[in-house]
């Protein structure tokens, strides 16, 4: 059956803000789906509250709603747009859950909206544990044995039959709270008791543990003709027990024979049919007992997933795109394989390389959090690397992480290294180091259950390192030696570290021996057919497949793995650069290592190099492609860091010059620049010894903001109020950072308003694109603060001064493109904190708020266009208010205080748009997944909250207030018995907690899913937002409808904090 003609309009819900477990991969899949469906003539309605996405760009869908992903809002949109169908399989769990609710509440039926892709029953069967197990039993496929129990005795009885370790999963708790793995009866009793307590229905599921079994995933596609194909098999390096999102994974499967693989394949086909996924992709996870091959199915996701994004990038098969087309009736054998053109989408990719994914974590942002990996996902991003062998792809993936993964492991003693054998981010370097120290593969297998094949590969890497060490001086290596070492996958930097010579020298010597990488193509078919898609990876082989072209080229550097502080917003910016440069006739070349992204979609740029963003790997591509320009300012710190070395190596850096970037980033030169320009800054300085720090702090006067130099993203940044606090801070920093960094100390302007400014400059003209006012007071990282644009509490003279300072700074630094400047404003005084001549985190949000694609303009300026040519010469004041709210991952880090601070910890953001600033704020909260109560009981803890209390009381809320000092009484009582407030939280006897002291109660609110506000300013906004929401209700608006009138209505004076 070809394309369905009975449906015309399709609604696609996105996945909302980036959270741990649901990230940029859904921007990639949603964007692909929108493009695919529009290309065959459907009208696509997109809803997503996350502005930092390509999919929410007005050009991607016919109608784009940056609105909260709640059933109520979706109903409004359905009412307005009257879609014929809803495609729920591309927006992660969020979209699936929404679709389920809309089906259950009858909304879909009422408006005649058909669920396509996955029907309600299939969603149910995939999600509901009981139903899933029944379905598997029908097929005769084993699942982990499990029993729902409601008492410790009952649990113990079942544990007798399955043995230890056993898994305990409490029913209906958020994020797996209260669950765990018990290795013996004592632990088991403890966890079951806690789990029964945490579960609102007082039941827990006790499950057979398959800890240490091999873990596999298959990506499956099915069409309405019942053709089923397997796109990719993935084998986890880390065996069962570590969430697959936190595991190092490898494609294709490495250690199973054809017979075993075909069994998994057959099961997968049976499962997708039995669950009843009509069309599209699913991900199925299996555990395989390494001792006898016994197979257990763990779970299936009836939708595209993080793994399917990885599988798409690993194979070149566009799963989301094909899934979207299958949902509207196409068959796999009717769709072409884009890469080969001649063959069809009905096939199973054959790959002739090895793909390795390594997750990236952010535990360092959450002091006190336990970094042991388990059944709950914690990673915030991932890298993928392609090599011709596992060793090569692993070594590439390790350097793609942009962390010095080897750092420090050499100094650890044996016991410390062995302690790292329990699953944790540092396990891989520890394994390598233990092998270096002579531990056997057998021993490490016994300790970790990582398949001996993988361990043996690590062993070979270590053996080669030893061989290199035994070689004579690299000056005397011949071509063959260089060739072999590079072919195994060692980077110039690895070789430099092993031989003790400088990386640049390694590069020189290697090039003297004519060893440069060649580039192979990802083609879905292992070279069986000709490939037309220039999707490449480097390796040291004999044949290079890159087609030369005479077109002028530009290389755009991507942003690498997502991490806190550098996420999908930079991918957004780089994709815009690609589009902009493509429009003006350049051939675009993308380099990136992050499989979750739109930028690494093979049809985004003209050429895609899936490569680590290191000096060596990037320069190799530049030398191969000989571009006219290289764009480094849009991908965040990762490419910016490379600006200087690349420039020194002769690469043509476009946009702001490397030296100018350095001038802005270097504290001293920036300070003297501001002094020269007469732009005031907070007092501050640099101290290299503790005594100096003490002196400096006293000169400035407490409170001061302290941070170590060269630690990015606000790491280890803190506000200290006294000599004692400073002393404690310094001791801790020196203990943690062995290099004894210098300490930056700045005046902390307490109670000030912070402002973020993004501006564009072409060297002659500078235009301020937006002044974004922070809702929270200064001292909270700009990435974690809610912001509003246009500003509501700044008077015209302040805004004029901000414009003036920004323009002069941009001009003086020599910005060609974007600059982000941060200011604090107190008592009408404007102080500049820092300036970054690059795209900032706020670019997508601001672009959508003002209706101008700023990253695109920046790329055009980099290519030599002027703002006048672009037509962007005046600041734009939007008619609507746009609020950005940060989304924080505290739930995933038990025991960590959910306080905001100078260190950024949010993983994503939402945006709320409305004519009323408070409704915009309310929408942003909803979009962030915070369901502010429209009535009920509000508990206020902290000082000076009377104005907040009054606002809530006026609205008829029941308000309970506690002073800050009373907080201590609220800590859990002796003997582990819950204190009175703890039981308050647990039983959800209040609907909103305002706790500016961020005491234990705040943590309990996080765990119980009760909305929490931790600052006074946000509390005031929340109260006003609720008042506005109660009196007006919500309206929805598509981006395409937003007209931009000249002036925005001035906000009421009451908005002042």
């Amino acid at each position: 059956m070809p394309r369905r003609d009975d449906i015309k309009t399709i609604l696609i819900p996105g996945s909302g803000p980036i959270v741990i477990g649901q990230a940029a991969e859904f921007d990639y899949s949603g964007t692909q789906a929108c493009k695919a469906l529009r290309s065959v003539g459907y009208r696509v309605i997109l809803v997503n509250s996350n502005p930092a996405t390509i999919m929410t760009d007005p050009e991607v869908a016919d109608r784009t709603y940056i609105e909260p992903l709640t059933p109520e809002v979706l109903e409004r949109i359905i009412e307005a747009e009257r879609p014929d169908a809803l495609l729920p399989t591309l927006g992660g769990q969020t979209a699936l859950n929404l679709a389920k609710t809309l089906w259950e509440t009858g909304v879909l039926e009422r408006y005649g909206v058909e669920l396509i892709g996955a029907n309600y029953d299939a969603i149910q069967k995939g999600e509901d544990r009981q139903k899933f197990q029944e379905a598997m039993a029908n097929l005769g496929i084993a699942t982990p044995e499990g029993r729902m129990v409601s008492s410790v005795d009952e649990a113990l009885e079942f544990a007798q039959t399955i043995g230890y370790p056993a898994i305990i999963r409490p029913s209906y708790t958020l994020g797996g709270t209260g669950g765990g793995i018990a290795y013996d009866e004592r632990q088991f009793r403890e966890i079951v008791r806690q789990g029964l307590h945490d579960s609102p229905v007082n039941t827990v599921l006790v499950e057979q543990s398959v800890l240490g079994w091999k873990e596999y995933e298959l990506e499956v596609m099915r069409d309405s003709n019942d053709t089923v194909v397997i796109i990719c098999s993935i084998e986890n390096f880390d065996p069962m027990g570590v969430h697959t999102g936190d595991s190092i994974t490898v494609a294709p499967a490495q250690t199973i024979s054809d017979k075993e693989y075909q069994r998994l394949r057959n099961y997968s086909i049976d499962i997708i049919r039995e669950i009843g996924v009509d069309t599209g992709g699913s991900n199925i996870q299996f555990a395989v007992n390494p001792a006898n091959g016994q197979v257990i199915v763990i779970e299936m996701n009836p939708r595209v997933s993080r793994s399917s994004a990885l599988a798409s990038k690993a194979t070149g098969y566009p799963i989301a795109k094909v899934a979207a087309l299958l949902a509207v009736g196409f068959h796999l054998d009717e769709l072409p394989n884009d890469i080969t053109r001649e063959t069809k989408a009905a096939f199973e990719p054959a790959i002739d390389y090895v793909v390795t994914k390594i997750p990236r974590f952010a535990f360092e942002k959450f002091p006190g959090a336990n970094d042991t990996l388990g059944t709950q996902m914690h990673s915030v991003g991932e890298v993928m690397a392609i090599g011709r062998t596992f060793k090569e792809s692993l070594l590439k993936a390790m350097r793609s992480l942009e962390l010095d993964v080897r750092a420090g492991t050499g100094e650890l003693n044996l016991a410390q290294l062995e302690a790292r054998l329990t699953p944790q981010p540092a396990r891989l370097p520890a394994l390598l180091e233990l092998l270096r120290r002579g531990k056997s593969v057998q021993y490490l297998w016994e300790r970790t259950r990582i398949d001996p094949w993988f361990l043996n590969q690590l062993r070979e890497i270590v053996d080669v390192e030893a061989e290199i060490r035994d070689l004579p001086d690299p000056q005397r290596w011949n071509w063959e030696t260089w060739r072999e070492i590079k072919r195994i996958g060692f980077s110039d930097r690895d070789i430099a570290q092993i031989t003790g010579i400088d990386e640049k020298q390694v590069r020189e010597l290697r090039r003297q021996h004519h060893n440069a990488p060649v580039y192979k193509t990802v083609d879905t078919c292992a070279a069986e057919f000709e490939a037309y898609t220039p999707y490449h990876y480097s390796t040291y082989e004999w044949e290079d497949e890159v087609r030369d072209s005479d077109e002028p080229k530009v290389v755009i550097l991507g942003s690498g793995p997502n991490r806190i502080g550098q996420g999908v917003e930079f991918d957004y910016a780089t994709v815009h650069a690609v589009w902009a440069l493509d429009e003006i006739g350049y051939e675009t070349v993308m380099i990136n290592s992050n499989p979750e992204t739109v930028s690494t979609d093979y049809d985004t740029a003209d050429r895609l190099y899936f490569e680590p963003l290191t000096f060596e790997d990037v320069l190799n591509v530049i030398e191969r492609e000989q571009p006219q320009g290289v764009i480094v300012q849009l991908g965040g710190q990762t490419p910016l860091r490379l600006a200087r070395p690349l420039s020194e190596a002769g690469a043509p850096i476009w946009g702001t010059a490397a030296a100018a970037i350095h001038e802005a980033e270097d504290r001293d030169s920036f300070h003297s620049l501001c002094t020269r320009l007469g732009i005031p800054m907070p007092k501050g300085g640099v101290a290299s010894r503790p005594e100096e720090a003490q002196q400096l702090a006293n000169d400035i006067g407490y409170p001061v903001m302290v941070r170590p130099s060269y630690v990015l993203g606000g790491r280890a940044m803190m506000v200290v109020n006294s000599d004692e606090e400073l002393q404690a801070y310094l001791e801790q920093v020196y203990a943690e950072l062995p290099d004894e960094p210098t300490i930056l100390i700045d005046e902390f302007v307490a109670g000030a308003t912070e402002v973020d400014v993004d501006a564009l400059s072409d060297g002659t003209t500078t235009v301020v694109a937006g002044v974004m006012e922070h809702i929270e007071a200064a001292g909270i990282h700009s990435g974690d603060s809610a912001t509003i644009v246009p500003p509501v509490s700044l008077d015209d003279s302040v805004i004029a001064r901000i414009h003036d300072y920004t323009e002069r700074l941009a001009q003086a630094i020599g910005v060609r493109g974007l600059i982000n400047v941060q200011y604090v404003i107190k008592d009408g005084e404007v102080l500049v904190i820092e300036a970054n001549p690059r795209a900032s985190r706020t670019i997508p949000y601001l672009s959508k708020a003002i209706g101008h694609p700023l990253a695109k303009y920046a790329a055009l300026i980099a290519a030599g266009r002027t703002l006048a040519q672009i037509g962007f010469t005046e600041p734009v004041t939007p008619s609507l208010y746009s609020v950005k709210e940060a989304v924080l991952p505290f739930l995933k880090f038990p025991g960590v205080a959910p306080a905001l601070g100078p260190e950024m910890r949010s993983t994503g953001e939402s945006m709320g748009i409305d004519a009323d600033p408070y409704l915009a704020y309310y929408k942003a909260q909803l979009g962030a997944g915070v369901k502010l109560p429209l009535q009920g009981r509000v508990l206020l803890t902290g000082d000076d909250l009377q104005p907040v209390a009054s606002l809530f009381e006026e609205q008829g809320y029941e308000v309970v207030t506690r002073g800050a000092h009373e907080q201590h009484a609220a800590t859990p009582g002796a003997n582990g018995q819950p204190g009175p407030d703890e039981s308050d939280a647990r039983e959800a006897t209040f609907d909103l907690l305002v706790d500016t002291t961020v005491g234990p109660l705040a943590r309990l609110a996080v765990d119980a899913g009760i909305p929490l506000v931790t600052t006074r300013e946000a509390a005031l906004w929340t109260a006003r937002a609720l008042a506005a929401a109660r009196s007006h209700g919500l309206t929805v608006r598509a981006l395409q409808d937003a007209e931009v009138p000249d002036q925005v209505a001035q906000a009421t004076s009451s908005t002042r904090k």
């Binding site: 017979k259 054959a350 000709e530 044949e543």
Partner: protein, 383 residues
């Protein structure tokens, strides 16, 4: 063992190209037709598939040997491939099914291997230039030696037109023990894979395997209810006697041809075959069943294709076509229970999607009432 200084080896092709790599497997030299296979698993099944007789197999998947070698995965009693070309072979085997590592298996069966080859470049060379003959040589080479190796490759006997069945077929007929009252099926062994026997048994047949040169009378003397024409190596025009055997048995028994068996059927009824540029070898070829509209993933290993239009009298209709290049993948007789497929429904290695063909054949066999009940074949004898 040093990983930076491995024993050298070279692969010389008849067109003069020489690839350098490292020696593995049996130490020596080997000549054959160089082909590539894109399966990501199943190297042992490929090595032991008699259809690869006379060929040097290149695996496009770069890591080979990871899960070792298992007694359960033998497709015949020994490897038939002449040589093995891989990017990297695994020095260790890790899998509970493994009884042996790949190195010792190849040593034991005297299979010469070369690793460290840019197998992707070689595959692209075979794809664009077509299948070529080549020599794997273990040891250091110089210009003179390389020139000699290239000559050896060039002078090596071509596969085209040769009958290789004597090298691969069983010398004597054998019956498989059975404990059930299942209908008897005779397989003519042109180089059979064990999996064909297993799948027939699983589907409910008692199997007797007979040598390629068994006469029709000898076959009928076994009182079979069905006839299977097995796969086999090389050019189907080579074993001319088989065309006659098949022709004489045509219409007498329900018949099922697989791969070379399918080609022999086509030739027996007067059709023609032609050679593909570089063949189909892999485990991911989409085939469309033109009768049901269903699409199946198939395992393939062939160089020759039946030209359906060349079969006189419209006796056969296409049942399956290759979605990638439109070539014929299956056909059936318009009147009699005779069908055949170009691909490998027994898989091993590869997807099991086409297992239904064995069940379908056994259904035909069960419905068949004995050889005497069938009228004589009315087909057009080739001229």
């Amino acid at each position: 063992m040093s990983l930076l200084n491995k024993p050298p080896a070279a692969l010389a092709l008849e067109d003069g190209t020489v690839y350098y790599g490292y020696a593995f497997g049996y130490r020596g030299k080997s000549v054959g037709e160089v082909v590539f296979n894109t399966s990501m698993t199943g190297y042992q099944e490929i090595l032991t598939d008699p259809s690869y007789n006379g060929q040097i197999v290149t695996m496009t998947y770069p890591q080979i040997g990871n899960y070792g070698v298992s007694v359960y995965d033998m497709e015949s009693n020994r490897p038939f491939a002449r040589g093995f070309i891989v990017r990297e072979f695994s020095r260790v085997a890790s899998n509970h099914r493994s009884n042996q590592d790949l190195q010792s298996f190849m040593e034991q069966h005297e299979i010469v291997g070369i690793e460290g080859i840019d197998t992707r470049a070689l595959t692209r060379r075979l794809r664009t230039g077509g299948v070529v003959k080549g020599v794997i040589y273990h040891g250091e080479t110089d210009d003179e030696l390389e020139a000699q190796l290239v000559r050896e490759a060039r002078e090596h006997e071509d596969i085209d037109g040769r009958d290789m069945t004597p090298e691969v077929s069983t010398p004597l007929p054998y019956a498989r023990p059975t404990f059930q009252e299942n209908p008897r099926v005779v397989i003519i062994d042109f180089g059979i894979k064990n999996s064909i026997v297993y799948k027939l048994e699983q589907a409910g047949a008692e199997v007797i395997v007979v040598p390629a040169k068994t006469t029709p009378a000898q076959i009928m003397a076994l009182n079979p209810y069905g006839l299977v024409l097995s796969n086999g190596p090389g050019d189907p025009s080579g074993p001319r006697y088989a065309h006659d055997t098949v022709w004489q048995l045509l219409g007498i028994l329900p018949t099922y041809g697989i791969c070379m068996g399918h080609q022999l059927l086509g030739l027996a009824v007067g059709g023609k075959t032609y050679k593909l540029k570089y063949g189909h070898r892999g485990a991911n070829t989409p085939v469309k069943n033109v009768i049901t509209g269903e699409v199946e993933m198939t395992s393939q290993n062939h160089n020759y294709v039946v030209d359906l239009d060349s079969i006189p009298g419209g006796q056969f209709q296409a049942t399956h076509v290759n979605l990638n290049d439109g070539t014929l993948e299956g056909m059936q007789h318009t009147r009699y229970p005779i069908f055949s497929v170009q691909y490998h429904p027994e898989a091993s290695p590869g997807p099991h999607d086409a297992n239904y063909l064995f069940r379908r054949f056994i259904e035909e066999v069960n419905a068949f009432e004995g050889a005497t009940a069938l009228p004589t074949m009315q087909a057009v004898k080739p001229g």
